[in-house]
Amino acid sequence: MKNKKSSASQEAETRPSRCPDNSAFKQQKLPAWKPQLTIASVLSTFFLTGAFCLSVGVSLIVAANSVREIQVDYSDKCSNCSKLRENSSNWNSECLCSINFTLAEDMLGDVFMYYGLQNFYQNHRRYVLSRSDEQLLGRNVDVQNSYCAPFAAYKNGTPMAPCGAIANSMFNDTIDLFYNFNSSVIQVPLLKTGNSWWTDKNVKFRNPDSHNLSAAFAGTARPPYWHKPVYLLDEEDEKNNGYINDDFIIWMRVSAFATFKNLYRRISRKGQFTDGLPAGNYTFHISYNFPVTKFKGKKYVILSTMVWSGGSNPFLGIAYLVCGAAATLTGFIITAIHLKLRKKKTYFQRR
């Protein structure tokens, strides 16, 4: 101990104080890995990437091809209804519309029913902003101070619940599916809950606390385009009513692009539909409430099965195939260039 101390102090004496430390950091001599692009590493990267992309691409395409999907555009087919809806004074009059279609093959497994909208700008900045998440969490907020305007409150001061342009424009068609089996018409059982994200249903959306829902929403009014107040969205199921209604939650999760589809119902696999939808003739019964012609939009109803990569989107598979092919090709090109160049070099060197 003593020895150490004295040698240390000696060192301090002999070493001039202004001399920089001889540490690896200060002398920029830190040990370091100096990677370099070598032909071996580059080529192996390209070929491995190529192989990976090709195999992923193939499996994606195989998966996407196994998806059965049927899409029906009903904005034109129900032209009388769409005409009626163009005039907003008819908002209260009901309009029903039926669309027949045929399934050539069985749709096996879970079948999902979507509604699709085209040209509906859910991703517009002012639209995206126009909501109050605090209100949707069941808290008592002053919506006038939120971004909900102009769908925050009525002129008389009654706040809208829920407020904002998103809620106000909620998709409100009802679609039912009927299976025409041996001249009898069977309604396909549909599940209206369990369609939204768990976190949305259980964390992000809460009803205000009260002994019953209508009391909880007392003092508020429905948004102007709605037919019924928020506490009547699903009168049958307490857990699917108010802000925690699945259809509402799904609508409130705004889409990334102007053309999108949202999950509407799932086929309940019971009775004849245990394996999915059997081939045959079907009819959609649609209560047409949501006007789209005004903004040159279109409405669809879509039935689809699912695989591990989701629905029937072929884009990712094709992109992977192209990318894998390009990577492999580039690998060959690089090899060719490199070999040619190396020959040249040795030629020069010999001379």
Partner: protein, 1067 residues
């Protein structure tokens, strides 16, 4: 009239004013104001496309860091101010420095600091003399004499001083330390005042018991500050506005075509009645979103990197001089990367290339030259033991000179008598026989020391006498006059009266001047001595000629009287004095000549050779005479015998100089023509053609130009010609130049060549040049610290310059370029995604990412890896930079970050942003989760794009980083980890419960990132963004490798640095 208070204040703030003043100063910076403007835009709800905190967080961060830095700086300034202000001084009453006022009379004691600029009234020494040291002002440690005006020097007691009621009219305080003009009005007489009568604030009184001074002016600082510059990128702002305009037009069209119909669901904002106005608003919204192409963090990061590089310079052990105990010092932090681009070095000679330790090595007395190394006598120095006062450090190798002294040769005696009398050296005798000399110039010190060892010991001086021990006998000479040295006269003389009563003038000075003033009868001796002088100069020695002259008593009386009148003259005093001096220093008798050796510093030839190989042109600007300069040029390998020709320009008139320059150019062209590049330009010898031809000169040339020729060459109509000629030469030596000319030469190169210039010097005469050049380097050496104070970098040996430039400069440049390239790339990739998204969201200025991601992207997720690269990256090991000086060339040509490279990084950024947007777009246009639930929502899209962006730019920095230290690893992996940690935290339930309106992305991370589709999208984006870069990089490396690529893994032994096409270490 208000006089300044003596309280000096270098500090800028106090506690109360700090915040407002500092903020005001910070917002004067364009960048900060720009971000403040953005912030204000964001507060307008119709425009605000981003929350205000995306800008305010970085802005506050930057402002705080800067403010803390300013505050600490200011704290230290306060401390030093207080220390200075509280020094005590006696103002006929005890007072602190800061309370001293103009008009006070102050008493100073020995070793005290002078409190304010004082007019010296009287002192303890006879004739009102006193001695001061000016180290704090100009760094010179020798003592200087100051003398009170004769009228006041008798006011020796306090009571008469207290009644002193003179009036001083003088110039206001200024930065000229060596000039002062003023007049004292007292008792209806006026007396001229000069610098000789003034004690400037900051000097220290030495060797003087006390003195009284009248405060002439107070306060004022005499410092110099180095400027700093901040990079600005007008093109990027142009680009930003362009994007904004495109999107604004898009918005107007969209609102007109689509938005109008969509109004049932999304009515226009209040106050927006037309699509055009909506477009106008969206322009500003997009400016807010797109401003991240030049984020605030860029400015901070650049400063941090520069600071890091400066510390590496300060810390470098290989630039530490153990002998002087001085490490290298980067005094400014803003120029590091320019160190990697230097094309011209302007070097002083004395003290920079040489040690400035003067050794008396040879002399010529009465036509006999002494000082040759006797070949057979061996390396035995002359024994000076006969002389008890000899300086043991002095060595001389020729015993014949000592024999001549001891034999009593009168010429030799007179020679050394002159050396012991004619100088301005001060002596200090601490104990009997222990003499110390303090000389203004090392040359003088060397000469007086030589005289001392040969038995003519200068013992002490008073203002009127000089005492010399001549071979043991003490003789006191009466000092009648000192005719000072200056740059024009280039000589100094003393007039002394010997104890026998003879009046004699001793003079020493530059040969060119002095040889003209000799008596014509000396012709033979003059010729022999001239031969000796040429011989000495040929060896690179500094020469002086010594001469003397007897003066008649009557003549002297007459002359002294005229001198008195001239020095009292109110105007043109200097001229009249110069004429009088000129008159008396005439028809002198030649005594001999001295030759002083100024030894080259260690490693100078090697350094110059390496810097020349690095394609840096070195110009030596020296005050020495031509022969000396040329020889130093040879000895430090600037000039070599291999050179095709060394042109010497010595013309005295404009025409001569022009002719000489023209001839030099013609010769160079003849030379290159004979080298056979085969086209003739006989007929088109106009000067404009010359320019292009001279660029491609074959063969090595050098140019030596004289001071008076240079004066002509620097005139407006010839400077271009001169520059073209000089730049075609490998080496340029300008001799006999004044400090002003040094600066002019640097200015000339700066003006016409778009090249980075570096000036290096050690003395006060180099300050102008150091300040003029882009980069100034000061050698902390013998000649004080003035050059260091004016410089940007300082160290103590010239050889460190190669390390500063080739290692630190090169790395700084490389790192800064790589940093900037990557930084612009990552921000374009980040920002341009918004542009593409604009086409899909109705140009509504909706951001692609979460606002927190935008806030944190530049300050957390991607800042540290690129900083680590900017601080630590190395492409080749440091020893390779020295072995292959050609590695320096990319910096000079600015190959690593020019318009083209900038465009390439931006293009790469835009390419990345396209893929970053359109691949997820392709996927998300029709995506669902594997359980059928939503995936194509905006928030999932945002998380996917953000995640792939972070991964892509992290992979890219991994590719760009060539030197992975543990720190790089930590920062790169840490940034990725931080991204995911923060992402999940931001999307957690807890934060949402607290601020539901702020953290809307609740649950998004765990829902989105659980989907295989999302990860496949991210993987594809990464592959597609990175693979082309890898392919291009590799092909470039394979087909057109840079020297640094070749050197990187190559052998450690140096190969000729000209060949670029060496074998590639590929496998």
């Amino acid at each position: 009239f208000q006089y300044a208070s003596n309280c000096i204040k270098t500090s800028k703030y106090n506690i109360v004013t700090f915040l407002p003043v500092n903020l005001f100063e910070q917002f004067q910076e364009v960048a900060n104001t720009y971000f403040l403007f953005l912030l204000i835009l964001q507060l307008i709800p119709q425009i605000s496309s981003l929350s205000w905190f995306t800008t305010i967080v970085p802005l506050v961060l930057v402002l705080t860091i800067t403010a803390v830095k300013d505050a600490t700086d200011d704290y230290f300034r306060h401390k030093s101010d207080n220390q200075v202000n509280n020094r005590q001084s006696q103002v006929l009453r005890q007072e602190q420095w800061m309370n001293v006022r103009v008009g006070d009379i102050i008493k100073l004691e020995n070793n005290q600091f002078v409190a304010a600029d004082l007019l010296l009234l009287c002192s303890s020494e006879p004739h009102g003399l006193c001695y001061v040291e000016t180290a704090e002002l100009d760094g010179e440690t020798n003592m200087k004499v100051r003398q009170a005006t004769p009228v006041t020097s008798e006011l020796a007691d306090i009571s008469t001083l207290a009644r002193f009621d003179g009036e001083v009219i003088c110039e206001p305080p200024n930065n000229k330390l060596d000039k002062f003009g003023g007049t004292l009005y007292w008792k209806e007489n006026k007396y001229p005042l000069s610098n000789q009568n003034m004690l400037l604030r900051g000097c220290v009184l030495r060797n003087t018991e006390w003195c009284f001074g009248l405060v002439a002016s107070c306060g004022g600082t005499r410092g110099c500050e180095a400027g700093a510059h901040v990079p600005s990128c007008p093109q990027i702002f142009g680009f930003l506005v362009c994007m904004g305009v495109i999107l604004a037009i898009g918005n107007a069209i969209w609102e007109h075509e689509v938005g109008v119909c969509f109004q049932i669901y999304l009515p226009w904002d209040e106050g927006v009645h037309s699509a055009i106005f909506s477009g106008f608003l969206s322009f500003w919204s997009y400016i807010i979103i797109l401003n991240t192409v030049v984020p605030i963090s860029l400015y901070v990061s650049v400063e941090v990197i520069r600071l890091g590089h400066s510390y590496f310079i300060n810390w470098d052990k290989k630039m530490y001089c153990a002998k002087r105990r001085t490490p290298a010092e980067a005094r400014t932090t803003t120029l590091n990367e320019e160190l990697g681009q230097v094309e011209y070095i302007f070097s002083d000679k004395t003290g920079t290339l040489t040690q400035n330790i003067m050794v008396f090595s040879k002399c010529s007395v009465n036509g006999h030259s002494y000082g040759e190394h006797g070949g057979c006598t061996g390396p035995e120095p002359v024994d000076f033991s006969f002389n008890p006062l000899a300086d043991p450090g002095f060595q001389f190798w020729d015993p014949s000179l000592l024999e001549a002294v001891q034999l009593g040769d009168p010429h030799v005696h007179e020679f050394f008598r002159l050396l012991s009398l004619c100088h301005t050296v001060m002596s200090e005798e601490k104990s009997e026989g222990e003499l110390y000399y303090k000389a203004q110039s090392p040359d003088e010190g060397a000469l007086v020391t030589a005289a001392r060892n040969f038995g003519f010991v200068f013992r002490s001086r008073t203002p009127k006498t000089i005492t010399v021990h001549e071979l043991g006998r003490a003789i006191t000479y009466q000092l009648l006059a000192i005719l000072d040295f200056n740059n024009i006269r280039k000589r100094m003389s003393v007039i002394v009266r010997s104890p026998e009563g003879k009046i004699r003038l001793y003079c020493k000075g530059a040969d060119t001047i002095l040889l003209e003033r000799l008596h014509p009868s000396n012709q033979d001796l003059t010729n022999v001595t001239t031969d000796h002088l040429n011989e000495y100069a040929g060896e690179g020695l500094r020469t002086l000629v010594l001469a003397c002259k007897d003066l008649e008593e009557s003549y002297y009386e007459d002359w002294a009287e005229r001198l008195r009148r001239a020095s009292g003259a109110p105007e043109a005093r200097e001229d009249r004095l110069a004429r009088l001096y000129d008159e008396v220093e005439h028809n002198m008798t030649l005594l001999g000549a001295t030759a002083i050796e100024d030894k080259l510093q260690q490693g100078v030839p090697e350094t110059i050779a390496i810097l020349t190989l690095a394609n840096i042109k070195i110009w030596v600007l020296t005050g020495d005479k031509q022969e000396t300069a040329v020889n130093i040029g040879y000895s430090c390998k600037m000039l070599t015998d291999d050179m095709t020709e060394v042109f010497v320009v010595t013309g005295h008139t404009v025409l001569e100089v022009r002719e000489e320059l023209r001839k030099a150019r013609e010769k160079m062209m003849d030379g290159s023509r004979s080298m056979g590049n085969g086209f003739s330009y006989q007929e088109k010898l106009s000067s404009s053609k010359l320019t292009s031809v001279l660029e491609a000169i074959a063969g090595e040339y050098a140019l030596v130009i004289n001071g008076h020729s240079l004066a002509h060459a620097l005139e407006a109509d010839m400077e271009v010609e001169f520059l073209e000629t000089a730049c075609a030469c490998k080496a340029v030596i300008c001799c006999r130049v004044t400090p002003l000319q040094k600066a002019q030469v640097v200015e000339l190169v700066k003006k016409y060549k778009k090249a980075v210039t570096l000036a290096i010097g050690d003395g006060a005469n180099d300050v102008s040049m150091i300040k003029t050049a882009h980069i100034g380097v000061g050698i902390s050496g013998q000649e004080g610290i003035q050059a260091v104070l004016a410089s940007d970098y300082s160290f103590s040996q010239f050889k460190f310059l190669q390390r500063l430039l080739l290692v630190h400069g090169r790395w700084s440049y490389l790192r800064m370029c790589k940093f900037l390239c990557y930084f612009f790339y990552k921000n374009f990739a980040f920002t341009m995604v918004h542009f593409w998204f604009g086409f899909f969201c109705g140009f509504s200025a909706q951001t692609v990412y979460d606002q927190y991601f935008i806030t944190l992207y530049n300050i957390v997720y991607t800042s540290l890896p690129v900083l680590a690269m900017g601080v630590f990256d190395q492409d080749v090991p440091e020893q390779r930079s020295m072995e292959y000086p050609k590695l320096y060339e990319p910096g000079q040509l600015n190959l690593l970050f020019n318009k083209r490279e900038f465009f390439i990084c931006i293009a790469q950024g835009i390419y990345t942003s396209v893929l970053m947007f359109f691949i997820p777009y392709g996927v998300f246009a029709d995506a669902t989760r594997d359980d059928g639930a939503q995936l194509a929502d905006y928030q999932s899209f945002a998380v996917t794009v953000a995640t792939s962006l972070v991964i892509v730019v992290s992979v890219q920095i991994g590719l760009d980083t060539g030197f992975w230290t543990a720190i790089n690893h930590f920062f790169i992996w840490g940034s990725l980890a931080a991204y995911f940690a923060i992402l999940f935290a931001m999307h957690s339930d807890g934060l949402f419960q607290m601020f539901p309106n702020q953290f809307r992305f609740v649950g998004n991370a765990q829902n989105t990132l659980a989907q295989p589709t999302v990860w496949l999208t991210i993987a594809l984006t990464t592959v597609v963004c990175i693979m082309p870069v890898v392919a291009f990089r590799f092909l470039k490396l394979d087909l057109k490798p840079e020297l640094s690529d070749t050197v990187r893994g190559g052998p450690s032994h140096p190969v000729p640095s000209y060949g670029l096409g060496g074998p590639l270490p590929l496998f």
